[in-house]
């Protein structure tokens, strides 16, 4: 039903619009300043539009800004981040879905306790695992490799992904699963054909969460990788956080945008999978 436009809806739009403006404010600041020459930032108003538009900061952030000794820009680090993020997100999401399925559909002793343990694990501060994890990675021979980073990010993602899926599946209509089991679907049949295809919203949420977190993860990236496998955040951090040198804010902002592009794309693309009325009509009662 296409709702008509009445007072209530006008208010609705005004409120949404207001929030949107507030939400966009910081990014507005970043955007306008990323198009200003450095002098203009130094002397001008940070909220005003550039007088002298330039895309030089963007070009610089992309390909010539100083990340290490070489002026490489952020470009080379994209690949690393993708190599890291895609497997980590896929793995942790899959494990989360699996755990959620097991925890909701199979009752065995200690299951709830284990779930609580996983849940609680999301609260541990990462700095406390840093040293022992470094030892572990060294022991496994994964220190300084992308594989090692994938391992770490997956392990510490399990808590969240399990939480998301378990809570989603807790409300899943049992009849569907029963029916599938009758139809001969085994453990993986039920999961792959019934649960996962009906989990789109929670998969979207989980992927957004994991993607963002791992993409933006810095501590592990800086500690457990070497230059050839540096993820993008470490590069961005190097670009932005140089200690005693000149701060090129315009380049920093442009770099931040560039670094955020994949995440933003994920949001935009995944957004449309929030479909309404997923279950309508599948079961009675």
């Amino acid at each position: 039903m296409q709702p008509r436009l009445d007072i209530a809806r006008i208010v609705l739009y005004v409120v949404l619009f207001g929030f949107a403006v507030v939400f966009l404010m910081p990014v507005y600041v970043m955007a306008v300043n990323s198009f200003k020459p450095l002098d203009e930032i130094r002397t001008g108003n940070m909220m005003s539009l550039p007088i002298d538009w330039t895309i030089a900061p963007w070009l610089s952030a992309w390909s010539t800004a100083q990340i290490g000794v070489q002026p490489t820009g952020l470009k080379p680090f994209f690949i690393n981040s993708f190599l890291l993020v895609i497997p980590s997100v896929a793995l942790s999401t899959l494990i989360g879905a699996l755990n959620g399925y097991i925890l909701t559909q199979f009752k065995f002793r200690g299951a709830n306790l284990m779930f609580a343990a996983m849940l609680f694990s999301v609260f541990i501060p990462f700095q406390i695992v840093l040293i022992p994890m470094a030892k572990t990675l060294g022991f496994l021979g994964l220190a300084g490799t992308v594989k090692g980073l994938i391992f770490v990010n997956t392990v510490y993602g399990i808590g969240f992904t399990t939480l998301f899926f378990r809570n989603y599946y807790a409300a899943f209509p049992t009849e569907l699963i029963r029916s599938a089991r009758m139809d001969g679907a085994g453990f993986f049949g039920v999961m792959g054909r019934i649960l996962l295809p009906n989990s789109t919203p929670i998969i979207v949420v989980t992927v957004i969460w994991q993607f963002t977190n791992i993409w933006n993860e810095f501590l592990f990236g800086a500690s457990f990788s070497d230059f050839s496998s540096y993820p993008l955040t470490v590069a961005l951090n190097n670009l932005v956080n140089s200690s005693t040198g000149v701060k090129e804010y315009n380049v920093h902002f442009a770099g931040a945008f560039i670094a955020a592009i994949p995440t933003l794309v994920v949001y935009l693309v995944s957004g449309k999978y929030f479909v309404r009325g997923l279950m309508a009509g599948s079961v009675k009662g």
Binding site: N45, N99, K107, S121, I128, P132, I158, F164, A256, M279
Partner: protein, 288 residues
Amino acid sequence: MKSGYLPKLLFSPSVFLVLVCVYGYIMFTIYLSFTTSTMLPTTEWAGTAAYARLLGLENWQVSLSNLATFASLYILIAMAMGLGLAILIDQKIRSESLFRSIFLYPMALSFIVTGTAWKWLLDPGVGLERSIHLLGWESFSFTWIKDSEMAIYCVVIAAVWQTSGFVMAMFLAGLRGVDTEQVNAAKVDGAKTWQIYLRIILPQLGPVFVSAFVILAHMAIKSYDLVIALTNGGPGRSTWLPSVFMYQYTFTRNEMAVGAASSVLMLVAIGAVVLPYLFSEMRKVKNG
């Protein structure tokens, strides 16, 4: 359903990893907190010295009381905002995806950089206050970030800005999982839109509330980048949080034992606050 060995088998790697990489390491940290470790872990036993030192540190007390303020406000506001936005977005609005993306995008940006933008925005000399002055409202004053009493609220604002979009996404996913037929029934039963949400939809979102709470609580406890980028703990020490404390003492001040002790105390505190709540919620999920 009865479980064969397959589910257990598939579940066990996760259990193993969590037990080792979380609880094993927590044990290690507990052990560290009783040693004289400074720069790297040592095995020299020091009893409760680290705890004694920790409890005497004013920085720690400041951090704790800041956390109490920050976490409670942040969780409450972000939850309310997330839910509110999700409900607004759920009204079959035009350009839903645009609004959704606008509310969600702050998650995409790392605080390493957005911190600078926020710092400028909140800075009275260059940001919001000045812009509003330029617009003619001279008496407008917004100097929280420079005020050691109020700076913590700036951290709350920035944190809410960053995560409420994600909370919105979680609620939206939940809202859209509810069977439309039930909503139809409620409409016929005479429920107004807000009543449908309050009585039919939200009660079915119990698990989403748990997820959102865990997410927010975890963010509150782990917020580090945010504070560092926004205020770097200042003015003075007025926006220190335990995460800053732990990091500082463990890695910058080379007092690893104290850092470990603070982690242990934090974990105990989190356990005391979160676990009973989680268990009660989980029971609800199971029975309700």
